[in-house]
Symmetry: D2
Subunit: 333 residues, 4 copies
């Protein structure tokens, strides 16, 4: 299966390595508006840096992997559909829910896999939690808590373009809630700017809590911070009628030092590249499974729409200081 990569930045490089690792997929081309980055990646993999149009027109290319900037995702998905490619796209579909709903309509008729890259679903610990939950190992689920703290905030220039914390960062956690509990009835968002006043000036928050309530009474809580001085903190907890499940952080190593000052163990692995290294490879293989073996696409465009709808509801909730009900119009379902 021949793959072309759109975007040669940090996340593009991660995906290029995943493509190499799966013996069923082969990276054959790369494109990036930063031609230097595209050239460097092309050289490393012994492939060609080409234009986007050229790639889309090339019938030998089976699939495109969209890892370019967010504002290009929706157009590229539509172009990929038109060109008959299988499509693997980084989240989000778009910052606008309306645009995402339009993309969903276009993708609906496509006969090739279109997959949204919500990588955390493929983290071995979170996947094991999902498996245990679905197997009924803790009975009926009641309470869910998703914790997601980044080690340090991104530059304010990034935040200005990001669509805000709920669409840029918490969207992963909204997807985790949807993955584990399905779509909620309503969203209540709380948020503050506690880390850097520049973030407030950019109209955003850096510290946030959201509560999602479900028709059947289940409740999910999300905790977000743009800064955890001890590293990337990524945890999920579920309480059920017969027990609880908790997926904790992965740590750098297993060394423990005991001295008069206390018992010191290693920190969580630094950031998403380290924590989700394995998840990225598993995620890619799941896409190849869908393309090559006809398996079900594990994360659909609808999943991308759902996460975006939750983010939109959170933004409205924060602005209005009240819970916001999810409507079927929001998710196009």
């Amino acid at each position: 299966m021949k793959v072309a990569l759109f975007g040669a930045g940090r996340i593009g490089k991660v995906h290029a390595a995943s493509i190499k690792m799966d013996p069923r997929s082969e990276l054959v081309a790369v494109t990036d508006v930063m031609t230097k980055a595209a050239g460097a990646l092309a050289k490393e993999y012994g492939i060609e840096a080409r234009s986007a149009d050229d790639i889309l027109a090339d019938e030998r290319i089976d699939a495109i992997l969209i890892a370019s900037s967010t504002n290009t995702h929706a157009d590229l998905i539509e172009a990929g559909v038109k060109a008959g490619k299988a499509i693997f796209c980084e989240k989000p579909i778009d910052l606008s829910l309306d645009r995402a709903l339009a993309v969903r309509k276009v993708a609906a008729g496509h006969d090739k896999p279109v997959m949204m890259a919500f990588n955390r679903r493929f983290d071995p610990s979170f996947a094991a939690l999902k498996g245990a939950l679905d197997a009924g190992e803790i009975g009926r689920a009641e309470l869910l808590t998703v914790t997601s703290y980044d080690p340090a905030p991104p530059p304010v220039s990034y935040i200005q373009m990001s669509g805000g914390l709920y669409r840029d960062m918490m969207i992963h956690d909204f997807d985790m809630c949807a993955f584990l509990f399905g779509m909620p009835n309503s969203v209540m968002a709380h948020g503050s700017c506690l880390i850097d006043p520049e973030i407030a000036r950019a109209g955003d928050v850096d510290t946030a809590v959201a509560v999602l309530t479900y028709a059947d009474g289940r409740i999910a809580t999300i905790r977000n911070s743009r800064r955890a001085p001890y590293g990337y903190d990524q945890r999920v907890e579920v309480l059920g009628s017969e027990g609880a499940l908790a997926a904790d952080n992965e740590i750098e190593n297993t060394l423990v030092k005991s001295t008069a000052a206390g018992i010191v163990s290693a920190k969580p692995v630094f950031f998403f590249l380290e924590r989700y290294m394995r998840a990225y490879a598993i995620e890619w293989s799941a896409f190849v499974d869908a393309c090559v073996e006809g398996k079900k696409v594990p994360v659909t465009v609808q999943d991308g729409v759902n996460a975006l709808a939750l983010a939109e509801a959170a933004n409205m909730s924060l602005a209005q200081g009240r819970p916001v009900a999810l409507t079927s119009g929001m998710t196009g379902s």
Copy 2:
């Protein structure tokens, strides 16, 4: 220091043992409307079971410990004040915030210690967390999460009299938030009945989340469930600008069994008597410190009012489906 005990039930017995353990305090009398229970406890301690009036009139008695049913607390505090006793009273002051405010007024002029028994403040792990937080070990605090799951729900008959989850159970967690973060600006409460439909019929919830927001942007989240099949789950987490603090459960023993089925460790200690055994003794000693050594009362009637005001706000929030602002009228401050 001579002490009389009001209430010879489960919690009364715990306090009797604490009184015995502190060499500075001596249990000299007990009273209970259940004369049998009073008699049994009196016999065990070689003391007298007497009437409440008799005790209050006895000038040799320095302090009363109120561990009788909730609906007697307010009256007994007022009677104790009138009788010139030092007073140690189980939470809550009353189920009615107005009544609690009236008690606060009465107690305000009292020249003896009046202490509310919020035992969790004296748990060694939570106290260590408070100490580290106040010492600035994690910089400025940002996010707080208090988790409190009981092992199993009480009888519905208890729930009917309890004042509801927020006033009966979450009141401890509201106090923990007040202890660690002070009083919030607003409370948003979510709640469901997921464990036993009888609880819903009694007009209560058994599963709840509350979010407290602070004037300076800090956010606290409380998670409650009347049932955790693995035992009493009592945890506190704080994220700050320079790190995080987490106080975990105490476990039954340190044995770990590793077999092909997995790595199994012991459960949390069963319930509040086991978990807070040490806290009860420390709490009592703090009261004796206040009586004998003139130290500051560590948990005041105002603290009791505060917790109750948060519970009242939570009830209103749940009923109206929106965040409720705390007013100064609510706390009498």
Copy 3:
């Protein structure tokens, strides 16, 4: 059951508290060659400080608790037997195995319980390990490791009188091996002086490893150090045919602090008084069970002889640099 205490030092005080806590036993007298210490303890408990002879002659006294210095143990056990008392005695019986064997003979004919205070058998975690092992939860046992590090070495003056590390410190671990695995075939001892050259000058080691081999091929390893800068380190591990059991340290509290410097948790509780606080109370209740309810004495004089025989063998092994076989003569069995 009326009890007299021999020895009002540190460990005597611990036992006095245990006697008070069990409602079936009552401390009625204390004796100590340090009359000041005896007087202070007597005053605290509202009892009399008396002479040893006086106590032994007092027929109202049912039991004696021997917590005086090691060189008095053997004589007091024999005197207690002659006086018809139930006897609870701190380890060891004596520093001399021959003397211990003589005591064993005397105690053999006694119709009252004689119990040796190997407190660690009553530690909840070690007892749970023993229970799981005996219940076959890990199949047949194969390898045992007992770790025992003190927080800091005692004064050299103590070491000079102690009988050496194997008889003074490792004797607890020999008993733990006997408790869990029974008596071995042979002992190989290794030892060094790494902490304080004064200890070497006193003819002792401060760092030691012993390996015990059993007739059926099982192997036990003991690790000892007089110093662990992070606190009292007391652990037991067993590997079996179907799994493993490990009892870890108890820690001061459950607080975990996460900062850029790492993840810091609390140290093990400081020393034996803290770690074995609960074990002391359980141990005493087991003795009262034997006296009052006719239950089996859980730690016998033979157990005391066994531990001493292992220590003697270890001393010989260290001196001769070879494994030493245990003979039936050594244990009088």
Copy 4:
């Protein structure tokens, strides 16, 4: 740097992947007496399966990686030296210490890197422990314990050819002791056959403890078992004058399930391929560093001789039931 692989079995495949992962090294040929295995691996990597002689004679090949059966190691190292190749060789050099000493002599004059593959030195947790130890983070080292339990014993046919537990399995732990503490003065070995009587019939043990004593009084203990039902158990602990270091197992995932039955966490990763996956890649990169950047070879032929000398001493100790002193003749130093 062009590399040829000798041996296309399980461990050969692991190394092939490591070669691929390091962009500085390229796998160009493979050889194996099992031509089918060689052919399969050659096909997967798009390379040629060739004869050993052909490879050694090929001047374009810079380095050979010896992952063939143990009895070929010594000859291949010597042939590689003669052919002027850099050499990376799986442990052990040979089952005979004399043969290993002869190889050492041959390799001594070689001007290319010759590295022994003691993979555990490159495990991130053990390497972090070594780093902390060498940095003096726990002061002077005193006691070392190396635990190494395989999940299940190999076939008896393997054991018959293996050279016995001390040379085949514990050799890794001897190397770990040498890595962390240097070479000891003496070795005392204990061993039993507790898992499978067929192993005893093959003249071997399956359960073993060895104690290594050092000239300066330090003591190291090794625990080995051919079976741990819960998985591969690989741990290292060091006690020092100022603290302790412990490197624990890596676990399959971080999921914890809490139910009435207890708190269950994931098992250690299954076996050496899973546990040391990262170590194999790091180890190979260290060899490439030596070849390409002229860095020091981190594990030398002398290290291989040392580990073998310790195994030989252990065999003698077990046979004679006494500690065996290491002589300089044994290590050729």
